[in-house]
Symmetry: C2
Subunit: 339 residues, 2 copies
DNA sequence: TTGTAAGCGTTATCAT
DNA sequence: ATGATAACGCTTACAA
């Protein structure tokens, strides 16, 4: 248990003052050549490393970015974190990832934990529970403390701050267009039970496309599913009770599972029913048939968010202007659709 | 930009000393009832929060755990992180996740970054490049500094420290047994190109099972694949040139992709060829046919690792005894195998 | 060229 | 019951 060597230790050992050591290690030209050499050699020999915590306290800057994601097993969030890491590490920042697990309480606790000096700014996507409660006081508190915050994906209009999102509505709209253009008319939407703004946007795009094509909107063609433990029977009943020839799903887990369930009943994908799902992840790629998917460009989104945050952190002026960046989702065509 | 309020601010405002404020907020009974009330009320009103950084500096403890994982998109690592978070947050620790991206350099940089005071201990799984280079000096340095470290999954015998792993060899052995018991004899192994200890262990189990069943070991029944960009042709050639009736894959991505490739050539799974893959993730569950998989219990592993680390951190004595916990993998039977 | 001292926000020890 | 002071490790005016 060799304890970390400090400036003080070096100073004592070499019989100089602490500030001399500090300056020498910074290669300040206030310090004489010989002393500098001596000190640097000694520091290297004993493997001196400045203590981040002390520097943070002094500078009031940690070079840490706090990231709060709703869950970690979804491919999309994983790629966003990777994008954040890319940018952050390249710019000398650490990333502290916390997972809210779709829980309001965990989101609040994590944010409070991090806000007390551990980080210079937040990048986050709201938990479903938070969106359901529509309670954003913890966010406001953090912002009132002057901590910069960037939302990605699941943002809220209630809070004025930097955001980076994709054109969810437009992407859903295009997906439905694709269905219509290939001759499909009985188009279903499978979405999440809980109240996510992104799901809402996607639903809007879905309805808009139907409307513009003069296709009647039928409430019974919209199915809401829970995040976990999807009931096979419910899905199969949905498909047997309604004549459906195309389905838009708000995430790939829904899409891939539903494809499996309907195929079991003898339905052919894409001949009888076409599928398109949001999130172009591993599941989409390896499903049978492979899934035509909407790529949300998570890595780009993460890099963008990190860039926006770092700019805010490093800009001296605390202007009250906020940016909203909208990335374009792209459709990746695979086997689950026809042309 | 309302700056965080400090003890000093409260002291000045209430015209008492800083130490009085500190004690009052800790409910020390050194402080008179009235002053205490007054201070606590004021602190609450102005939403006082102790500064973590200052406390860390004072206590030489950060209550942060550094986690280094090789990548974040693999389901297994995601579940381990979740397990670590579970335990850590429940015990008042933050989790700082860094991703080495299977790169030695990134692993080293991340560890150095975190080791300089940001964290109280490490939980990590080695990058493939590190295992290939077989260079563990960065790990030794960290341990020499007295920072506790726990390996999970991809560990190395070169370093003496706490570890939590699964019985990879045994699990592979059992999987092959299952194949043999269902009448399969031409059993292939699909493993990773790079030199991962876990892959090696799994290969050992594979060979051991074959040997014990008196099945000839054929080098050409072992296929090594790169992590990304698997060449469909290579896989199909492998299956066409060798009569194969069962395959053990060291991860689910390999398994699911290979299943797709062979099915395209008209081969039936599991009738013609059975498949078993390591990692019981979403891919295994939603593949067609669904994949019989070896569950590595990532969440348990993460919790276990966090528990071991926190115990080390909080134990005063720095004994030099290390624990190796071996979790039991379990086989989850699905449609890609027969009985 | 080198050193002194204050300060970042907290806690703990030792006065008063 | 309250306060002064030192300390954690570092940076940086300001002296010398």
């Amino acid at each position: 248990m060799k304890k970390q060597i400090t400036l003080k230790d070096i100073a004592k050992e070499l019989d100089v003052s602490i500030s001399t050591v500090s300056k020498a290690l910074k290669n300040s030209d206030e310090i004489g050549h010989d002393t500098k050499e001596k000190i640097q050699a000694f520091a290297k020999l004993y493997n001196y490393r400045p203590n981040n915590i002390a520097i943070s306290l002094k500078n009031k800057r940690t070079r840490n970015i706090g990231v709060i994601i709703p869950n970690i097993v979804h491919y999309f969030f994983a790629t966003v974190v990777r994008g954040i890491e890319n940018f952050a590490n390249a710019h000398g920042y650490n990333v502290i990832v916390c997972v809210s697990d779709e829980s309001f309480d965990k989101e609040v606790i994590n944010m409070e934990m991090l806000a007390n000096g551990s980080i210079d700014g937040f990048i986050m996507s709201l938990s479903s529970e938070t969106q359901l409660k529509n309670d954003y006081n913890h966010i406001r508190e953090v912002m009132d403390q002057g901590i910069p915050l960037v939302f990605f994906d699941r943002a809220t209009d209630e809070i004025d701050c930097d955001k980076v999102i994709i054109n969810d509505r437009e992407a859903a709209y295009q997906a439905v267009n694709k269905f219509v253009n290939s001759g499909r008319k009985r188009i279903a939407l499978i979405t999440s039970e809980n109240f996510l703004n992104v799901s809402d946007e996607r639903a809007k795009g879905y309805f808009q496309a139907l409307r513009e094509h003069g296709i009647e909107i039928a409430e019974n063609l919209v199915l809401k599913l829970p995040y976990i433990d999807i009931d096979e029977k419910v899905v199969q009943k949905f498909f047997s009770q309604n004549k459906i020839d195309a389905v838009l799903c708000v995430n790939e887990v829904f899409a891939v599972q539903c494809m499996r369930f309907v195929q079991k009943t003898g339905i052919k994908v894409p001949e009888d029913i076409s599928f398109i799902g949001f999130t172009d992840g591993l599941l989409s790629k390896y499903a049978t048939p492979s899934l035509t998917a909407i790529n949300q460009h998570g890595e780009d989104m993460g890099e963008m968010a990190a860039k926006m945050l770092v700019e805010k952190i490093e800009s001296e002026a605390d202007e009250d202007t906020y940016r909203i960046e909208i990335l374009k989702a792209t459709l990746v065509e695979r086997e689950s659709t026809v042309n």
